[in-house]
């Protein structure tokens, strides 16, 4: 069964969603991850979209982004962004997804300023809702490319707080809950150590070596004792993804 790297990543993202969970769905791959989870192991998951949509059924046609009209059709609720943010801020969102351009060992994300605000080398689009999801969901999942320039010891700017400077930091700054649970990259899957809050590699994608992952990480990466291989997408999962992204706009190679 052949599959693409984005298909593998979307499949890994989908598996992070348990049935019945309330999911704050982001743009791009997470959008597909939610649809895949809904159509496989998590049919009762509820999706919240920051632009003001709650839906618990699949859209009737493939969508490229959350504002596409099929995603509004027979939604459970169309309302204000503030309403969605209220549900999030109350703690009623179990899991959310965020993309990142730069991440560090404590899961802090930068999607704003490479080089920092006083010495901007690259301006990225910014937070959108990412800072809110990272601050307020019960847990959040990060999806990004695994490259050394992106996996840095300390991000240049914290757009979306992870565990900050490590254990106890979130409570100290006043964040009410949450934190990153998983980082799904182009090379593997990483999770956070419950004590140190540092990220560690827990699975490598098929055909990727631990050395490759280490070489593409800007600090000495911790490796889990029980390192596994990321499960490949099943035939059913690939079928579904083909239906959700027929042009492979998001899931092509």
């Amino acid at each position: 069964m052949s599959y693409t790297l984005p298909q593998l990543m979307v499949t890994a993202a989908a598996r992070e969603i348990a049935d019945g969970e309330v999911v704050f769905v982001g743009m791009r791959l997470p959008l597909l991850g939610f649809l895949l989870a809904k159509s496989t192991h998590a049919p009762e998951a509820v999706g919240i979209y920051e632009l003001g949509i709650v839906r618990d059924t699949l859209a009737p046609e493939p969508i490229l982004t959350m504002g596409d009209l099929p995603n509004l059709y027979r939604a459970r609720w169309l309302a204000d962004t503030a309403d969605m943010m209220g549900l999030l801020q109350q703690g009623r969102v179990d899991v959310s997804f965020i993309g990142g351009a730069q991440v560090d060992r404590f899961g802090n994300l930068n999607t704003s300023y490479i080089g920092g605000v006083t010495n901007v080398t690259t301006r990225l689009p910014g937070s959108g809702g990412a800072c809110d999801l990272a601050s307020l969901a019960q847990r959040h999942i990060i999806i990004m490319n695994h490259e050394k320039r992106r996996f840095v010891p300390r991000v240049d700017y914290i757009t979306s707080p992870g565990f900050g400077a490590g254990a106890g930091w979130r409570r100290k700054v006043g964040l009410p809950r949450g934190g990153p649970a998983t980082v799904i990259t182009t090379l593997g899957v990483l999770r956070f150590d419950a004590q140190s809050c540092e990220v560690m590699l827990v699975s490598v994608h098929p055909g990727v070596s631990v050395e490759t992952v280490r070489d593409n990480t800007g600090w000495p990466l911790q490796i889990a004792d029980q390192l596994t291989e990321t499960p490949k997408p099943t035939e059913k999962e690939l079928d579904m993804l083909q239906r959700f992204d027929p042009q492979q706009y998001w899931t092509g190679n």
């Binding site: 596409d68 605000v117 809110d132």
Partner: protein, 303 residues
């Protein structure tokens, strides 16, 4: 009879958006983005604007590229399906654009504070983040009851909100449907409200469903008729998102030169909504049209 507020789009922008204005746009994020009105700002070569919005898709990038913008107060500026907004990048990297970074939640609370008539709103987001570095309108504070650390977000009161909606009457009463983003609070927070609408309808079409009214008509300054005024963003009930328009824009805005070519073609040479739809062409419009209709069940407001 209340005053009729129907104006040509050019006159509405001319009268209610002087140079230096702060304007909220793109408030529903991906849908109902007022592209026609934004292009009119470019056409009138407005200067020193402050643009306010959560995620405006490519509209802010276009107005920045045309040299109209002094400052951005937003959560995200780019192209939703291709990533970066190149004019925005160039301007920030060159240091010519002042930036106030928000998250969607802090921007929503800033406008809600404006709408509620209070000087700030508390939030639990962004604590420990670097948003505070470029945003003096965020401060940490302690809750007067629980002593929890909170983010205080200062009220934002735009000079104008410009919103593209489905239908309006000539008096400023209007219906919107679909995801509503920050539209409601932004309108209430603003000094002026300028509505562009797909259709101008008889007043009773609006007044027979007052719950669907987006903001009280007495607060609206101008209404302009602008069919396809949200293109390439989607407008529920009227047309789908024109993905190709966003994909094309990535290449069209890659350099300052290509952007100026885009501006010449899509803005400067367009003088009416009729021009714009001619440029789009019948086939593209037919492709984007609603094909699977799904009508709401009426409700009774009788007595």
């Amino acid at each position: 009879m209340p005053e009729a507020k129907l104006l040509p789009l050019s006159e509405a922008i001319d009268r209610f958006v002087p140079n230096g204005s702060s304007i909220a746009m793109g408030l529903a994020q991906e849908t109902l983005i007022p592209f026609a009105a934004g292009h009119q700002l470019i056409r009138q070569n407005k200067q020193d604007l402050t643009l306010i919005g959560p995620i405006s898709d490519i509209l802010f990038d276009q107005i920045i590229g045309a040299g109209c913008v002094h400052k951005i107060r937003a959560a995200w500026v780019g192209n939703v399906i291709t990533g970066s907004g190149y004019n925005f990048r160039r301007a920030v990297e060159a240091g010519t654009l002042e930036m106030e970074d928000h998250s969607n939640l802090t921007l929503a609370m800033a406008l809600r504070a404006g709408a509620m008539g209070v000087p700030f709103m508390p939030a639990r987001t962004a604590l420990g983040s670097d948003l505070f570095k470029t945003n003096a309108n965020l401060k940490t504070m302690n809750c007067p009851f629980s002593d929890d650390t909170l983010t205080a977000v200062a009220a934002l009161k735009p000079d104008a909100s410009i919103v593209h909606l489905q239908r309006a009457d000539v008096f400023g009463n209007a219906h919107a449907w679909g995801n509503l983003g920050l539209i409601r609070d932004a309108c209430l927070a603003s000094r002026h409200i300028i509505i562009t609408a797909e259709e101008i309808v008889e007043p009773d079409v609006i007044s027979r469903d007052p719950n669907r009214v987006i903001t009280p008509g007495f607060r609206v300054s101008a209404v302009a008729h602008a069919p396809w005024g949200g293109h390439p963003s989607p407008v529920p009930g009227y047309y789908n998102r024109d993905h190709q328009g966003f994909i094309d824009y990535q290449a069209e805005s890659k350099t300052q030169e290509t952007f100026l070519e885009w501006q010449r073609q899509w803005v400067d040479s367009v003088h009416s909504w009729q021009d714009y739809t001619k440029l789009l062409g019948a086939k593209r419009m037919a492709d984007l049209a609603i094909k699977h209709h799904d009508l709401s069940e009426p409700v009774d407001y009788g007595y």
